[in-house]
């Protein structure tokens, strides 16, 4: 069992999605996250063990390399893709409550902004880190964040903006969220932002690195 779980962790870390996947080239023809997860379940490995000991271990390893400058965004994305392939098999266990996720995370690009690459990357890293991510997409108005928060009252919120014109929307949105739910943690990200800006608008933090962000919010659980 240990060998299988280690192999699955490597498949996640290296972004080996399935048997047919040509990437990475040195693992061509080998089973990927899809087949290995199914096999682990068939062999009776508890889904929570698969999630913690293989999937999240693999994601953490590639995330650590990213922080150290030894891996880059494509490596994170391909790992997240492998993670998603594995999660398909685990999904029924989340629905039944047999496996509990870390919590809910609402994410969206603020009103007026259609840039969603950064937001999508954060979504994938958080999903791979065991969060239930509610992705509101791009051009999301403040009231939509507030409405979604009513549905997921314990959720954390993350907002993204790429333009100096749209980053100002973050202030309105943060205010609107804090008005109805002062204890909700609100985080911001995007190229033109800074910690100083986050402090100024009353948000709870700015994170330029999705992996560091995932580590930070894990401490809030």
């Amino acid at each position: 069992m240990k060998e299988l779980l280690e192999k699955l962790a490597v498949a996640i870390e290296r972004g080996k999605v399935n048997l047919a996947s040509p990437f990475p080239p040195d693992l061509k023809g080998e089973e990927g996250a899809d087949e290995l997860t199914k096999r682990a379940l068939d062999e009776g490995v508890p889904p929570e063990v698969i999630l913690n000991d293989s999937l999240m271990t693999g994601m953490r390893k590639v995330g650590d390399k990213f922080e150290q400058g030894k891996a880059f965004i494509p490596d994170m994305l391909i790992a997240a893709k492998a993670m998603n392939a594995a999660m398909v098999h685990l999904h029924p266990f989340f629905e039944s409550g047999e496996v509990v996720l870390k919590g809910d995370f609402i994410i969206g690009t603020v009103a007026g902004d259609l840039h969603d690459i950064g937001k999508n990357i954060v979504r994938m890293v958080l999903t791979g880190s065991g969060w239930n991510v509610i992705d509101l997409g791009s051009d999301v108005k403040a009231d939509r964040f507030v409405e979604t928060l009513k549905e997921y009252p314990n959720a954390l919120v993350g907002m993204s903006a790429l333009l100096t014109t749209t980053m100002m929307q973050m202030e309105n949105t943060t205010k609107a969220i804090k008005e109805v739910s002062p204890d909700t943690k609100v985080f911001v990200g995007g190229a033109p932002l800074s910690q100083e800006f986050s402090d100024k608008i009353g948000a709870d933090g700015y994170f330029p690195d999705p992996n560091k962000f995932a580590k930070h919010i894990a401490t809030l659980v």
Partner: protein, 235 residues
């Protein structure tokens, strides 16, 4: 009122290479990116069928433009650009206001790839779009330089709202110089260009103006393609 130049360059004229995009992604070691280069080469081939490059510029003639103390005046319209842009344009006399785009099909391709659950290809397509847009601007800049040379005039480097301390909101004033829907590019209220992968800006023109490199060392924008160009690793 203004002289207008409009072009539809061919994809093969744009010199798109996977290596620049790989460098933007952060890789310098060939062993680590071999697989990604294969994916990128395939995406570049697909892009040839999807991208419809279009670009152009309008000419503001001699003695209609000036610049000083962080402000650039273009035929009566005032632009608060910061010194990084106004400084090198100090000897501006006329200007070319330009726009270029990869065309509307690209946005759909990018969105579709992401929504179909292929984030890696989606990310690479996004970077490829930026690379193509900048290559269109490079191609167009040469046309502007050719025009200026024909008038015995010189050109500055090109500057775009959203970069070099120039607020992106000023893009609306810049677009006032273009004919309606010029090159098919429009602006949202928040100054976002549609199609998304488009470039706009200004090239200063004058008898005494000089081309100066971007002063990236005095700018704090980390994720900037102009800065990227300075850090390009040979691959």
């Amino acid at each position: 009122m203004y002289k207008v130049f409009h072009y539809k360059p061919k994809f093969n004229d744009l010199n798109i290479s996977a290596e620049n995009i790989i460098s933007t992604m952060g890789y310098s070691d060939q062993n680590t990116y071999t697989g990604y280069k294969t994916i990128l080469d395939e995406l570049i081939n697909t892009a040839k069928e999807i991208v419809t490059p279009e670009c152009g510029f309008v000419i503001l003639s001699r003695n209609t433009c000036s610049a000083s103390h962080g402000t650039v005046l273009l035929d009566g319209a005032e632009f608060k650009t910061d010194k990084i842009v106004a400084g090198p344009l100090k000897k501006i006399s006329g200007a070319a206001i330009f726009v270029g785009t990869v065309g509307p099909g690209f946005d759909k391709w990018s969105r579709k790839t992401f929504s179909e659950g292929d984030p890696l290809a989606g990310y690479m397509i996004d970077l490829l779009g930026s690379e193509i847009a900048e290559s269109i601007a490079d191609w167009l800049e040469k046309k502007i330089v050719e025009y200026a040379a024909g008038e015995n005039l010189k050109c500055s480097n090109r500057y775009s709202p959203g970069y070099c301390g120039w607020n992106v909101s000023e893009q609306h004033k810049l677009f006032n110089f273009f004919p309606k829907d010029f090159c098919g590019v429009t602006l949202t209220e928040s100054s976002l260009m549609k199609p998304h992968k488009s470039v706009s800006g200004i090239v200063g023109i004058g008898p005494e103006i000089k081309w100066k490199d971007y002063p990236c060392e005095v700018c704090n924008v980390e994720h900037c393609y102009k800065n990227r160009d300075k850090k390009l690793v040979k691959v």
